[in-house]
């Protein structure tokens, strides 16, 4: 590149730059110019005064604020209501600024503060109140809870009613509301006065189980229907009875215990499904339990008959609430006797002829035990079997039981027999 050419390039570059500077300069002048204009507006000060306005308004009514002697274009009206803040721009009319408050402000009840500013200087301020407007209709929002209660004097559902006007503003304190409820044949109304944005009424549980229907009425508007279910209270003490096919302790039949109709203190039948535990205690102080749930107040539970003669004391409980009077249930022995037959050098012991109360063969599965003692009376073994077709056999193999003298004791259905045997 020749020197001349270089020079030229440099010069043209400088010229380009100068052009840019020119633009920048023009821009700068513009900016400064604009700024000056703003400055000049700041110099204009006005002393706007507000024209009389309604201090108390009703939601939805148009509200207008007018300021006279207002000249500053930059005037802004700041409105603060319960939910937020908004800035309004004026419409100008002669020597007056008019601000039309937008609907979302005029429809919200509560205090509203307004401030007129010019260049961040407060020129005038004030406030007006907007009251709820029940004339265009009242809407009732109501809550009922708890929705399930029991028929006891202390329990209640609380009915909270929050009526609003057409613009969803809670009505003023002191507004009368009627809270009505129906239970069976009884419909009663209570007058409630609004306070703290709502009114409330406790609806106490009646003495009967059932459903309470609740509604509210305010300024001629009605709420929807709410329901609270009254469940019966806790069970009170009750009686039990039993039914069985026969009174023999045959270990085969079942005995059914049933409660009478379990009720609460106001004679409401307890809720279906109330759990009742039946506890039977036999003469050896061993407890047997079974449980049942109520249906129409009656709970049933079944036990199988014992194998041997005994007497049960039976009591039923609704845990934590009520119990029955105890009843006693005797069982007669069903098995009267049996035979022991020894064979094969006494190594085969057969228990035979186990017969029930009509001399019938006992049902299979009667437990049979055989205890073996040695000559000194020391325990050797306990063998267990169950009957099949009225008999059972025990085998004493030579590998386990040495030859010698032993005493055996058999027990079937509580009948115990002792016998000496000699194993070879």
């Amino acid at each position: 590149m020749s020197l001349l050419k270089l020079k030229r390039t440099v010069i043209s570059e400088i010229q380009d730059n100068l052009k840019n500077y020119g633009y920048i300069l023009v821009l700068f002048v513009l900016i400064v110019g604009c700024k000056k204009e703003m400055d000049s507006s700041q110099i204009i000060t006005s002393n706007p005064t507000v024209l009389p306005f309604k201090k108390l308004n009703v939601a939805g009514d148009p509200i207008q604020l007018k300021f006279k002697d207002a000249t500053n274009e930059l005037a802004a009206l700041i409105i603060e209501n319960s939910l937020g803040t908004t800035v309004l721009k004026a419409t100008k009319e002669e020597n007056m600024f008019i601000f039309d408050i937008p609907k979302h402000i005029t429809q919200k009840a509560g205090l509203c503060h307004w401030t007129l500013t010019e260049n961040a200087q407060i020129k005038a301020k004030g406030s007006f109140n907007i009251l709820p407007n029940p004339n265009n209709g009242t809407y009732i929002e109501s809550y009922l809870g708890p929705r399930s209660i029991t028929a006891v004097p202390s329990d209640f559902s609380m009915h909270v009613i929050a009526p609003t006007d057409a613009y969803d503003n809670p009505l003023s304190d002191g507004t009368k509301i009627t809270s009505t409820y129906q239970f069976k044949n009884n419909i009663s109304s209570n007058s409630v006065t609004m306070k703290n944005l709502m009114g409330w009424k406790n609806i106490y549980a009646p003495q009967q189980a059932g459903r309470i229907l609740v509604t509210a009425n305010c300024n001629g508007s009605n709420s929807k229907e709410l329901t609270s279910i009254v469940y019966p209270g806790n069970a009170v003490d009750f009686n039990i009875t039993y039914a069985r096919n026969h009174d023999y302790a045959d270990g085969n039949q079942t005995i059914t215990f049933s409660s009478d109709i379990i009720k609460d203190v106001y004679s409401n039948i307890v809720s279906d499904g109330t759990l009742v535990n039946f506890v039977a205690t036999n003469t050896k102080n061993i407890r047997l339990t079974a449980s049942g749930t109520t249906l129409n107040g009656i709970a049933k539970a079944r036990f199988i008959h014992p194998y041997e003669a005994t007497e049960w004391k039976v009591k039923a409980y609704v845990t934590g609430a009520a119990q029955s009077k105890p009843i006693s249930v005797p069982f007669k022995a069903a098995i009267k006797g049996y035979q022991i037959t020894l064979a094969n050098d006494h190594r085969l012991i057969a228990i035979e002829n186990i017969q029930s109360f009509m001399d019938q063969i006992v049902p299979d599965g009667v437990p049979i035990s055989l205890t073996i003692y040695d000559q000194q009376g020391e325990f050797v073994a306990l063998l267990k079997e169950t009957s099949r077709l009225g008999e059972a056999t025990f085998e004493l193999p030579i590998e386990f039981y040495d030859a010698g003298k032993y005493t055996i004791e058999t027990v079937v259905a509580g009948i115990s027999k002792k016998q000496d045997i000699v194993l070879k």
Partner: protein, 506 residues
């Protein structure tokens, strides 16, 4: 040879290519294996960290309906304050974000109306509330509806149109609020502003007698340890060194120190308990060595925005409550040289923050005077009415000091004044052409002390030691400023008193 190179190149390219393909495949594989975050299945509240913590003072519970459980009250308070927070945020950004979590269907549409209107008109509002005084009015039997009256909420508001502030105001408002428990949130159903009860909060300055003598006699210095200036608390806190320093300060005839509590180092609103302990320990050591302490809060703090107010209030609350009864405490200095932030943060913002902070601290501490460490006598005329002591700094020529002081004094009137920082660097080096010296410093003090004694002005000089290191946050990175800053001490780096000392203590 060439061929070998070619082979090697091919081989390498092959390897690299394979590597890239494998990498690509594995990236694709792992991408396909990342599922949606399971937590997105749940409707969780918008994550709000503790960035809005106004003071909430409940009136004793005497509400109608069901008696309130403490647990529920806490949840109610949490959601109620968050409702304020999301609404403040929404009004600032004109964005609906979060509003639906804390306002019921019917309430939120009204807020959305306002937001949409403001968005259209390019209006936004910065708001914060400082203190809430809720009273529980009603709590329903099923625990799903509550009504409260929040009395005299202090609200601070800045309204902007087209990014120009049109209004700044502080006001008190009272609201009746109905909340419903929906989806596990207490949501605002109704919110109605009602008239305030007559009750106005005012900042009253302390009666002068309460602290006059302590202030009038104070002679002292701004204290930082030699080895960790501007970084006194934390890992480098050393009580032995501080104890020795305090002994030394006392022995050279001074009775007051000024220390600084950095806002962020103290973990903002949370307050690092360990550092607070160190601060207390420092105060104990001062008391032990017969020194009174001016505690300067909010060091290195520079945001004054409304959204930050409640955090700074909680910060100050914890420190003030921890130290207000300490025998060594002389005064609260709210902020060091806040006037230097006027330009960058807006004078109005800084002043209203300071004003509110004085007001808050006065609520917790009714005994100790409050001051602000203005950077110049001219700046010290701000908030004159609110402060108990007028503190100012002076680093200009001693010749002009008397005049500047007298001008200020005439404006101030009877309130006590403190020359809270002044001093001269004895730096002599490359950056000032080896022109400074300890003698210059001594001359400075000689001249200054004459006026100070004449006027009987309490003083706190800058500073005890020459420092080895100065953090960038203090005077910036420029070496000539840093070097100056390192030599303001009245004790040099060898531990020897500089000649200036003899002019200060006679």
């Amino acid at each position: 040879m060439n061929r070998n190179l070619y082979r090697a190149f091919l081989l390498l390219t092959f390897l690299v290519l394979n590597g890239l393909i494998l990498y690509g495949l594995s990236a694709l594989w792992s991408y396909l294996n990342t599922g949606a975050d399971r937590a997105t299945m749940l409707h969780l509240p918008a994550q709000l960290t503790a960035n809005y913590i106004p003071k909430v003072i409940w009136s004793p519970l005497k509400n109608e309906g069901r008696s309130m459980e403490q647990q529920t009250l806490q949840e109610l308070e949490r959601d109620y304050i968050k409702a304020w927070y999301v609404r403040n945020n929404a009004l600032e950004t004109n964005n609906h974000y979060g509003v639906q979590d804390y306002y019921t269907d019917s309430a939120r549409v009204k807020i959305f109306d306002i937001l949409d209107f403001n968005k259209e008109n390019n209006t936004y509002i910065k708001t914060t509330t400082v203190e809430h005084h809720p009273t529980l009015e009603f709590y329903s039997a099923d625990g799903k509806l509550a009504v409260l009256t929040d009395k005299n909420i202090q609200i601070h508001k800045e309204v902007f149109v087209d990014d120009i502030a049109v209004l700044k105001k502080a006001s008190e408002s009272t609201f009746k609020v109905m909340l419903l428990l929906e989806d596990g949130f207490w949501r605002i159903r109704h919110m109605v502003e009602i008239e305030n009860e007559d009750h106005e909060n005012k900042v009253e300055s302390l009666p002068l007698q309460a602290f006059k003598t302590d202030i009038a006699n104070s002679k002292g210095l701004n204290y930082y340890p030699k080895d960790n200036p501007w970084n006194m608390f934390g890992k480098r806190f050393n009580d032995t060194i501080i104890d020795n320093d305090f002994k030394k300060i006392n022995s050279i005839g001074l009775n007051t120190i000024r220390i600084f509590v950095p806002y962020e180092t103290f973990e903002k609103a949370v307050i690092d308990e360990e550092k607070l302990g160190q601060l207390k320990q420092t105060m104990d050591l001062a008391a032990k060595n017969g020194l009174k302490v001016t505690v300067t809060l909010f060091d290195f703090y520079g945001d004054y925005s409304l959204s930050d107010w409640t955090l700074t209030h909680r910060h100050a609350e914890k420190i003030v409550n921890a130290l207000k009864d300490h025998e060594a405490l002389l005064a609260w200095d709210i902020k060091n040289e806040p006037d230097l932030d006027f330009e960058s943060r807006g004078k109005e913002n800084v002043l209203s923050w300071l004003h509110q902070m004085i007001f808050e601290i006065r609520k917790w501490d009714t005994k100790n005077p409050i001051t602000i460490g203005w950077s110049s006598p001219e700046a010290a005329i701000e908030l004159l009415k609110e402060v108990d002591i007028v503190s100012f700094h002076y680093y200009r020529k001693p010749d002009d000091f008397k005049e500047a002081y007298t001008t200020l004094k005439n404006t101030v009137g009877t309130k006590p004044m403190v020359l809270q920082e002044y001093g001269y660097s004895s730096y002599s080096g490359l950056w000032n052409g080896y022109l400074g010296s300890a003698q210059d410093q001594a001359d400075y003090y000689k001249e200054m002390q004459t006026v100070i004694e004449e006027e009987n002005l309490p003083f706190l000089l800058w500073t005890l030691y020459d420092f080895e290191e100065v953090p960038n946050a203090v005077v910036g990175r420029l070496p000539w400023r840093k070097s100056q800053q390192k030599h303001f001490g009245i004790i040099d780096s060898h531990g020897e008193l500089k000649p200036a000392y003899h002019h200060i203590i006679k």
